[in-house]
């Protein structure tokens, strides 16, 4: 402390010098219009740069919140707007009435873990029972069908990816339903197969493969992929059809879990009939 006091005493004239220079700077930049304008201009440039940098940093930090906000908005658009940019739900919404609009709701989720190179690929999302998610609910990405919920804990859920040998979806091609299953045989990544389509059917490479009405997990019309290969083997009356998935599972980060509020009711009715 004594050293500090001695130092201050020894350099008091310097402190006084700095203080008086500050007074001078105040006088120069406040009482001289030209210098004031120059100072204001320089100060504005500096503060603008600082503000820009601060804004960039805060924007980056706020990206997570913005992502969640956007996901919620997309989920709302999915279910409410017939002119949605995600047009693949348009058919469902246009055709169905106000009753069926409330049939589905969507929960946005983030993919926390994802596999694409195994025989039975799964991914984990950050939403679970607490958010109304249970086993056997459909999961879509912004590009198309992504999978089906296998298991849910309170906070998380495991989803069976389309790239899973146990995954079976009944597809429609160009709006027509074919009562055959779309499967992944673990031979080629991102390439699904449909067997049992008669080679007399009018389908071509590039045709859209989507979900149909026979599933309670997905609204109809959600893209699964497009036909990439169409072969007919000799002495066979069926096409050997390959489909490239719409969803890019390698880069998939955000998904939506589809909750069908009428699934149990409709399921019970179907069971009664069967």
């Amino acid at each position: 402390m004594q050293r500090l006091l001695a130092f201050l005493e020894h350099n008091l004239y310097l402190i006084l010098f700095v203080l008086l220079q500050a007074v001078c700077a105040f006088l120069i930049f406040n009482l001289n219009p030209y210098q004031q304008a120059s100072f204001t201009h320089a100060a504005t440039s500096v503060t603008a740069r600082v503000n820009q940098t601060t804004s960039n940093v805060t924007n980056y930090i706020g990206l997570k919140d913005q992502n969640e906000h956007l996901q919620n908005q997309v989920a709302e658009i999915f279910l409410s707007s017939p002119n949605s940019v995600l047009t693949y739900l348009n058919d469902t919404i246009d055709v169905q009435d106000s009753f069926t609009r409330s049939m589905y709701s969507m929960v946005p989720a983030q993919v926390l873990y994802n596999t694409v190179h195994k025989a039975n690929n799964v991914f984990v999302i950050n939403k679970g029972k607490k958010h109304g998610i249970h086993k056997n609910m459909g999961v879509v990405s912004s590009q198309g069908v992504a999978g089906i919920v296998l298991k849910s804990s309170n906070e998380y859920s495991t989803v069976m990816s389309m790239l899973n040998t146990n995954m079976k979806v009944i597809p429609t091609i160009n709006g027509s339903e074919f009562f055959t299953e779309l499967i992944w045989d673990n031979e080629q990544p991102y390439s699904l197969k449909i067997k049992g389509i008669n080679n007399l059917e009018e389908i071509e490479i590039g045709d859209l493969v989507a979900t149909g009405n026979s599933s309670l997990l997905f609204p109809s019309g959600i893209p699964i992929g497009r036909i990439s290969k169409l072969e007919t083997k000799p002495n066979s009356q069926y096409f050997n059809t390959e489909i490239v998935t719409s969803t890019n599972f390698r880069t998939m980060e955000y998904v939506f879990v589809i909750i069908n509020h009428k699934a149990n009711e409709i399921g019970n009715l179907i069971e009664d009939v069967e």
Binding site: L12, Y13, L16, F17, L20, Q21, V23, C24, A25, F26, L27, I28, F29, L31, N32, Y34, Q35, A37, S38, F39, H41
Partner: protein, 150 residues
């Protein structure tokens, strides 16, 4: 007074700083700072340049302290003598005064041209004004010396 002599736009000698340069050598550093600030403010008052001369005078006195701290002037300090040609050798006086005058003019004109610095004009004005100021200061010193001698 000399500010009003329209020698040219390149000649603005600041002669009053001789009052600071020739301050007695025993004056404390704090007092030197306060005197410099006061004199600068007075000059600003007359020249209508709030803060310019005050700031320049503060730097001048700090530079003077630094330069004189490197010259052996213990005897002059002990005898409470002024920093002038009579008490210091003419060479040392001229050398120190030249640096201080040159610095003062450069700093003052730089402040005045903030936002639109014209390097060529700044150097010319500084050199010409400093030379004239130095000439006048030396003349004043010799005239004063002669009067004291009589």
């Amino acid at each position: 007074m000399l500010n009003h002599l329209d020698f040219s736009t390149y000649l603005l000698p600041q002669v009053f700083i001789i009052l600071l340069i020739s301050l007695p050598l025993h004056v404390s550093k704090i007092n030197q700072i306060l005197i410099a600030f006061g004199l600068g403010l007075l000059a600003d008052l007359f020249a209508s340049t709030p803060g310019f001369h005050a700031s320049a005078c503060l730097w001048l006195i700090l530079l003077r302290m630094w330069i004189l701290g490197r010259i052996d002037l213990k005897e002059q300090q002990a005898n409470h003598l002024q920093f002038n040609i009579k008490n210091i050798s003419a060479g040392t006086f001229f050398y120190v005064t030249s640096i201080l005058v040159l610095f003062y003019h450069l700093y003052l004109f730089s402040l005045g041209s903030i936002g639109a610095i014209d390097g060529y004009r700044l150097i010319i004005t500084t050199m010409l004004s400093s030379a004239l100021a130095l000439l006048i200061i030396v003349l004043i010193q010799y005239i004063t010396l002669r009067k004291l001698g009589e």
